[in-house]
């Protein structure tokens, strides 16, 4: 079961934070097809949030076809967002770690690494504008 958290200072609307956290869990494989999302009252018990906000987040996820609510039963995952298998994710993670270790050894700090990563990502996206990149 996924557990939500809210950052009051992030400036991101609470319903969007829930949407993003579900999507992240779908990408990381923490939620799989058929899994149930917490009920509204469970979310309230977790993070003291307005029930209408949770409904709104779940409706948004349903609109995007990621979950489906079954009246009386709950809300269930219908699609995941994992484009690559978990095994190859682990591999990619390992090679990223090696890259990071190299960058640290070369004397880079995390901010410049992030900047470098983002600018390289941008470069690749501009070269191949066919991917299904999402801004969220």
């Amino acid at each position: 079961m996924i557990e939500f958290h809210l950052d009051s200072r992030s400036g991101v609307a609470p319903y969007l934070q829930i949407v993003q956290q579900v999507k992240r869990a779908l990408r990381l494989g923490l939620l799989e097809v058929g899994d149930q999302l917490p009920t509204v009252r469970e979310v309230i018990a977790q993070i003291t949030i307005n029930p209408n906000t949770v409904f709104k987040a779940y409706r948004e996820l349903e609109r995007e076809g990621l979950v489906r609510s079954r009246p009386g039963a709950g809300t269930f995952v219908q699609h995941t967002l994992t484009s690559v298998s978990l095994a190859s994710q682990a591999e990619l993670r390992e090679s990223l770690r090696r890259w990071l270790a190299g960058a640290f050894a070369a004397g880079m700090d995390s901010e410049s690494m992030l900047a470098l990563f983002l600018s390289a990502l941008q470069e690749i996206q501009q070269e191949a504008p066919k991917g299904e990149e999402e801004s969220v």
Binding site: S8, G11, Y15, I44
Partner: protein
Amino acid sequence: MNDVLETTSLERVALETTRLSKRYGKTWALQDCTLALPAGRVAALVGPNGAGKTTLLHLCAGLLEPTAGSVQVFGRSPREQTTETLPRLSFVAQDHPLYKDFTAADLLTMGRKLNARWDDALARTRLQSLGIPLKRPAGNLSGGQQAQMALVLGLAKRPDLLLLDEPLASLDPLARRDFLRTLLDAVAESGLTTLLSSHIIGDLERVCDYLIILSASHVQLAGDILEITRTHWRLIGPRQEVEAVAKGQMIIEASHTARQTTLLVRTNTPIQEPGAAAPWAVEEASLEDIVLAYLGQQAREQATERERLEVAQ
């Protein structure tokens, strides 16, 4: 449960006021207040002390007679059609007053005998889950427990409209969270409409989905919180270009340094992105910034008004 909230109650109006006004002697406590609160919402009524929040809540609960204008709870007057309205609303006054010598069990008995729609099982379940002992006099409970007790009594009446006057003011952060959790769980369970006044604006976005800003006895802004945050922007740019940027937008707040102007504007049209031609930075304004801007606007207008009066004399 989800379906009930979404389809039947969302846009029905729970509480409607039309040019509602209340005067004490020569002083207007509330003036020309026009609102329509959709059912099922959790609405925050914010404003400084003395803005008229308590007066508005008392008018809605039927405890005060309006000087002018009208108030309707689910389409009926809380003072004239009392048998239709009063069973449907609960009002928890400031500092959650309880009969201090009564035990929780006594208070439940009282509630049961005085209210036709009373839900004793609900009250007992909630008290038990909150760990509030039934046999202890209310005066001996902690401040947080007294607040919870008052809320549980208000909820056990099974209201369709719950009015809370400064429910969070005297609570520490932990008690505040527990109190809100009880409230929001009841909202999820029954779909009731809530109007709560507060001068604490942090965390409002988490709890409330509707906002009413009251200051100097007038409504400054009322609406859906997401809608409010989507239509307010902070613009930062060179000082000389205020007029051009402000075109078609309502300026809520403006501050200047020698070179820079910062504006908080309200606009229903998409804001123009800052480009080379218009070197303005555009940022989303936080709810807290928006509330403070409106309250500050009112304070400035009052100051200008005083200045005018002094000049006139």
